[in-house]
Symmetry: C2
């Protein structure tokens, strides 16, 4: 998503926590070391960094915001993988933190990531005008709170009681996947004082991207062995979680993915694909379209149903 | 600690989350309902509220800060009680949230409390001068992060490997109990722009109070049935956690408690027991001294060892 130099900078920012927490209790430090040592694609961090740099922000502040968003995401994955949630064994190609360092340390490590994320965000928000600081804080609260991702996660975990039709699956995806995408797009835009009309477009985009991303993830969960994705596969079937290809069929899920990506493409164009403030969006759109093509070319597709 | 009207206001602030999250997923809402429906003594919220009111803050902002601190504390209790930590059955006289609504919902509910706590704090910090906003944010990060309560909690959970002498037990208590007391005293003081010399005294006081509080708690854990305290007793022995009366003996623990409370009394006097800015401290000091007397008057004391 970013060029090599920018990506390296985002990666350094993400790894910074470890230096700060070198004296922590060994199990806790082990979880943090794993969390920042296996950073994944850092796509959310790259997006936030790209938006802020596009708006002429300093690299230092942009890295702080990008890292904060990625820490929130990483914490959510550690929680998701716990025995009381997905009970996953593998994430990012390695044994999950709770399998290596124990559940308690995993919980404490995830909380440390969240704490550090708020600290990083505040360090930047505090220097902004009060109006922007308050609006930024409101977005964080809405996306990450009991009305945002936590509610979506709770609905996914207790999905078994809900009829698994397309609308039900979409509602769950909207709750659990859209909020972090929304945070990733809206928070940097609001911090950079983007025009309200552009923020509104980003809000629409985050819904399309979030749902697209979830459908792609549903396919990956259903048909890969985990060797490709680095995380335990088959979780949705095992836990009877919301999964669109399973609920609505492969054909319908693919056609839904198509419409969502077409709508997203339209929004990205309206924001201005050539506008350097938003050029990072164009690049993620291309990546998602490419993922879509890859899904379609898989011979094993029918095994999902 | 506060008069009836002030206490009622703090209690209303604490209960406010529920109204905001009325539409959450039922298990998640159940955890939040339990958390704010059984508020405990709200001693941390009362302290913070008392300090801010003593410094002529508006009741609205004081309630926001007080509620935030109490939500952090309540979240820490929900995590502590999880099967992977203390595996407790009862808290505040009721079954623990994870026993009623499931572990996953308990985790998500605790995270919702944390998210809301940051939102409340930020709503107040954002309007303060940048210098104070940054210093307030730093205190939150230090007290609640991987160098603060999370580290202390990790050390307590992995205490079995450490020699259980007085110094070792004190180090664990310092890590797990002092940070929240520190947050409760320092954050309101810094927000109210108290003199650095007073903030330094509060820092010393938080250590004495935190350790005193932990020793009182160690006694309660060891010798009550849980009917008195409303929470599962015998946790330290069962999990081989740090417990001063068990490690150093009852006589030594009581004499330690005496010195700590005498030092605390001295600090409170130096802050000015008659100074209305700090009068709430004098009241908590009296409550702790009273608890100390109660411990001494118990006939069953020797059963601890």
């Amino acid at each position: 998503l970013l060029d090599d130099a920018d990506r390296a900078e985002v990666r350094r920012g993400f790894a910074d926590l470890l230096r700060a927490e070198a004296a922590s209790e060994p199990h806790l430090r082990g979880v943090l070391r794993q969390a920042v040592g296996h950073p994944g694609s850092l796509v959310r961090a790259q997006l936030a960094f790209g938006i802020l740099l596009g708006h002429d922000w300093s690299r230092k502040s942009a890295v702080a915001v990008a890292t904060a968003i990625e820490y929130f995401h990483t914490a959510s994955l550690i929680f998701d993988d716990l025995p009381c949630m997905d009970d996953a064994a593998t994430r990012r190609g390695h044994a999950c933190p709770h399998r290596v360092h124990g559940e308690a340390a995993a919980v404490l490590g995830a909380l440390a990531l969240i704490n550090r994320a708020y600290e990083l965000l505040w360090s930047v928000l505090a220097a902004l005008p009060v109006r922007i600081g308050l609006e930024g804080s409101r977005i964080v609260a809405v996306c990450l709170g009991a009305g945002g991702i936590l509610d979506g996660q709770a609905r996914d975990l207790h999905f078994e009681g809900i009829t698994a039709d397309e609308a039900g699956v979409t509602a769950v995806a909207e709750g659990k996947t859209v909020p972090l995408v929304r945070l990733t797009l809206l928070l940097p835009a609001v911090m950079a004082d983007a025009a309200p009309a552009d923020v509104a477009k980003l809000d629409q985009l985050s819904r399309r991207w979030g749902l697209s991303y979830q459908i792609l993830d549903d396919f990956k969960d259903a048909w890969t062995t985990g060797a490709e994705t680095g995380k335990t596969a088959g979780m949705d079937r095992r836990h009877r979680r919301a999964n669109l290809p399973a609920a609505a069929g492969v054909t319908r899920a693919l056609s839904r993915l198509d419409s969502l990506l077409a709508e997203a493409r339209e929004i990205v164009s309206r924001l201005g694909a050539q506008d350097r403030r938003w050029s990072v969006l164009e690049r993620l759109q291309c990546i998602l379209e490419n993922e879509d093509r890859k899904i379609r070319s898989r011979p094993l597709l029918v095994t999902v149903q």
